[in-house]
Symmetry: D2
Subunit: 394 residues, 4 copies
């Protein structure tokens, strides 16, 4: 079973990850991981901060001569800003010694974990909460999950996401999204073609006109000093039928996918296929008729998003998630100081306006281990040779 831990603070010396349980013999390079790390850094809607240094995770164990060895894979992302910038992070984030004149942060930002973190852990300083709850952690999450993603790629399973809504701008219906995305996903590269195409837009939207409108929406909200979230869709192609199980609730693949998505910073909802729309339609506009063609059972539509009874149908998975607007905003919100309890405005902080295009990459990543584990459960195996030998050709 693929398992992973991430560690590290936003402004600490390093983000660290350990990914355990990947079979031996999987080709894995830092370049593969880097591609998704860099994608995660890109997208319209970022604040005016410095040009970013590219994230890169160094493989520190578990890979030899380009192949995994079955051993745990450790990944390290050194935070270069930690030492070199002028914010004095080594002092602020010192692992030992006294606090000295390092300031406490006492004004919790609504929408972040600031207040709940302090309440839970009994801190008198919000700093440690900010450092760990920050979306910076998703960089290491992407790195760890990319190992699972590489595993899936080897079996022809591809994952690709695109943006379908930012604030008030988005597709008009399920069918509109299908016609924008499905043909692209039917290429020989499957859903990889979806992200490659979407990545051509800096808002990661497949539709040129909507992309332009989304950028306008972001510009407008930036001027107003507020922020935006939005909705993305992830497609997974090449998934064999029969992953997951209906026999026990905790083996249903929908549940495991939902946990992965909802266990990600800022996500407030997930749906499979038609999702919430399926509650508004009558049955004949929801269920997918079964057909048999080319020696395979198939579905005439894919409104259930590739899952029936918690089990994959062999159709592409279609998963949507929603990200709330970034809570850090120019125009302040009311809050209360944890020391004085005084009601105050949140402090001015530079921030991005919309993180959604980048969140797509995180969402693509976090579902990879779920699918990889469903594969390992059905096909077992300690090495890629062993698995491929058993794996159905398509």
């Amino acid at each position: 079973m693929f398992r992973y831990f991430t560690a590290g603070e936003s402004h600490g010396p390093e983000l660290t990850g350990i990914a355990e349980g990947i079979p031996a013999g999987l080709p894995l390079t830092e370049e593969f991981i880097e591609e998704h790390l860099v994608r995660r850094q890109q997208g319209y809607g970022r604040g005016g901060r410095m040009a970013f240094e590219k994230d890169r995770a160094e493989i520190r164990s578990g890979v030899r001569f380009g192949l995994t060895t079955g051993a745990p894979i450790s990944l390290s992302m050194i935070n270069r800003a930690y030492e070199k910038d002028d914010s004095n992070w080594p002092k602020v984030m010192a692992k030992d010694g006294e606090r000295g004149d390092v300031e406490r942060i006492t004004l919790p930002r609504p929408g972040h974990a600031d207040l709940v973190g302090v309440q839970k852990y009994g801190f008198d300083d919000i700093r440690p909460v900010i450092e760990r709850s920050s979306a910076r952690e998703t960089a290491m999450r992407v790195a760890c999950c990319s190992v699972a993603r590489r595993f899936l790629q080897e079996l022809g399973i591809r994952i690709g996401g695109h943006v379908i809504q930012i604030g008030s701008v988005g597709y008009g219906s399920w069918e509109e999204v299908r016609s924008a995305a499905d043909t692209i996903a039917e290429s020989s590269e499957g859903a990889e073609n979806v992200w490659r195409t979407a990545d051509k837009s800096d808002v990661r939207c497949l539709d040129g006109t909507l992309s332009e409108q989304m950028r306008e929406e972001i510009k407008k909200r930036r001027k107003e000093g507020t922020s935006l979230g939005g909705i993305y869709e992830i497609l997974v192609t090449g998934v064999p039928a029969g992953l997951g199980s209906y026999v026990h609730w905790d083996r249903k693949l929908d549940g495991l996918l939902a946990q992965a998505i909802m266990g990600t910073q800022a996500m407030k909802g997930i749906e499979i296929g038609l999702g919430f729309e399926s509650g508004r339609r009558q049955g004949h506009d929801v269920h997918d008729e079964i057909a048999y063609a080319d020696h395979h059972f198939t579905r005439k539509t894919n409104r259930l998003g590739g899952l029936e009874g918690g089990v994959t149908t062999g159709m592409p998975l279609i998963i949507r998630g929603v990200m709330k607007p970034i809570p850090t905003m120019i125009k302040p919100l009311k809050t209360a100081d944890i020391d004085t309890k005084e009601e105050l405005d949140t402090r001015y902080e530079r921030s991005d306006v919309c993180a959604l295009p980048r969140a797509v990459v995180v969402a693509e990543s976090v579902i990879a281990p779920v699918i990889a584990n469903a594969i390992l459960e059905k096909f077992g195996g300690d090495s890629m040779d062993e698995i491929k030998d058993r794996y159905p050709s398509r």
Copy 2:
């Protein structure tokens, strides 16, 4: 940690459950469980089948003189129809012997696990898939989870759900739902008052006019030979701040709640608070300002649904789920026989039109263990006395 297993087939002799990890000293009766089992059986939109016998789970272990003992609690629901009706279930579902003249089912119903189950497990008969993937299993799920629900009740945590959308009929906005539900949940009984009030409507909707429209919608769709799903909302009141954690993705309470909901039959989406709507709004219309009053931090609104950073804020949890329409419908769908591969219409079967009102009870139930475990993680404890002693009074 509260853990549970369910077992049993829809037309087998018994549904069985084991719930492990509940502290000693919790008052628990079959009546408490029965109340929710019976609620699960009630709701407008059922088919014309016989008057149902009331479900009742018998406690077979783990409780003595009305109090839990810390030992696993086994629950048994004997299927009375198994023996007495004329469908010959003891023969059809025989655990041993030969199949004989028991017919195989070879026509998979779209939207059910029928086809994927056969593909996964290599069956030549859909019967075993139908038997285990059926929503009948949720009766035992409700029974097991009611144990956790009783635990939460003892600590003043109440769970209550109501229907907000059936097909095309539903509330117009988040704010409309808030004004229908929040006052009710602010009573001294908290969210228990929500379900008690909703239960007065046979579609479990708090609004009388909408209830009427929902019934009309169901009637109309019944006539058309199709079916409906819908959307429900679950409120949880009395939840202390600080449950769950932002420090690691698999400890975020949103993710665990999402798995519980999405691990339930027919659910295609879940959202917390504003959910998908939060992707359409700008930040100031999403985040909840922090205030301090009466010696407590609070939020001026609760649009994030009681969770920030995967941790409870102390505000009520607001969780919504969507159920797809029932796949079994009078008007047929196309499908293909697993033997002959021939394309055929689904067979006529009597079925309910809308299961949503009953699904509310299941959803209320399945989240109880998640919250109970978050409580046990923070407060520990082997007995109710020990836990109550540590538990914050509100």
Copy 3:
């Protein structure tokens, strides 16, 4: 992954078990399970209690026409004594109502969980501790684990145990045990031949002379009013090389086997192969030289008991466990009342003198799920056909 829960009290109405995660298509009958349940009831050293009714577990779900369906398997053992004897168990163990005149037990028996149970759960009565900590629970454990054992059998993996020490009587050396057991295990039935042979002795010892001496030892200790434990050895034949892993501590098969054995009532130690003796020998008398013959790597000896680096070598597993003497004894021990704190003698209770021969069956059983899971991890699979297709022929 095979998982199981047991529930039920020693004098409650029923022992219940749920076994989840077994592939579909496994032949499984109540007779197979019963064979091991009855074996568990037999053995020299039982007290003079009534002739025992044979234990039998009824399969209540998960099996149809003699084959598993992939669904959870529930097992039920009705406690016939509950209703019919004169001890008034329905009143003593009532799940509801008041205690009334049912006596509290306040004198903890040393060596049982009595005192710690009361301390942990805050009881004023030892009864609930006795009821759940009793070795009666192992009946259901045997039943659940027999499902995994049946799975292993289908793949040619056999488990068989025998007694090697009771009190002061036992084999003189590792080599003596090897010459008593290994030839027997090399039959075509593998380790099944070990238990079948050992079962001919009512102390489950393969050696006739030792068997006689063990009976004498038991008789002698019975007269003295004391009790005995002892040491058993379990062999597992037909295990393929490569189960378990050295890559992470919690995947080492030795650790998982050890947990299963030590998670069983009254066990105080476990060793693999030479075990503790390996600490007393020099290296050349411990390690097993590697050879290659008949197209297979093999070992010239098997002193490491079939495991190197936490991974199976393909040689038989040899696992030993020790059971402490039964704590309930005619000759009293000192104890202290939980109410009065007064120091008193334990009360006279009829009891067995030596439970070891029966514990062998429990130990054989509890390791089956561990090995089954290692198989499932390496070979995956949802049905027996799928697994057998991949499984190496030997």
Copy 4:
């Protein structure tokens, strides 16, 4: 719940660990961890290799101003030899590129994971097996577990081990060990006094005469070109009654302790209290009578090693483990080449003769997370303040 992963190869650039689940507010320094890392490096019986550089784990996250923050703690041990020695490890262990002229290792060493590793993962080179299965990994295990050990220390729970047998030299009886160790453990520092005292002997034996004999035994075996293992005992003092549970097999503390010990390199057995000796004695020489004194229940002896029914009694835990002799030995063993299948002698390699004194430190460490988790289960809590507040004073 405390969880941890280790990663890293013996001759790779770094060993990495992540420890997740430790409460906030625990004082933790690199010095505390280093003390045990250095202890792990020390002991009579090492080979003639170079003077070792001291191991030191750097804390890379999860600690600020000397206190844990609740966030995952990452630990890094840079392998200085990787870059600087002349073995060309960066080339041999290269994560990418081609193998080039790096030699394959094809001669498996009996007693190591060499052969099984190759069989499991399908390698044509034993190098990756050696690198991960090596006991070098226990350095990071000690580092991770020291975090849990620090947590226990804060609650007055101390762990200390000592050697009781090396080859043919050891204590004559349980009682002899008790009189050597128990008084030492009864000091105010509890079992910490055990390791501090044992550490004065370079074989970590509390008895001066035995220490001398053990050194002689090691010298003798070194001359013979063979190796030794042995038996150690770990004491844990300050453990409250009521940790673990008898209610379900996988909650019994004995099982969890056994897995931790047996999941450690080279361990072939574990016992609690009298362990295997309890199978040779009659009941009255095994069970511990209960007494009440000083407002506490206690035991007159501690032959069951602090556990009854899988639950702590409040007496010290007494756990013994056995380590097999080091498999790498001067005098060769027969083996067979994985390429040619030719039977050959193992190659000459410099090696230690006896690793037992160092293994004691590993064993002390690996049980710490088990006990920490039992504490967290009973007392819950997110911060040390919260936990201490609930924790019983003694």
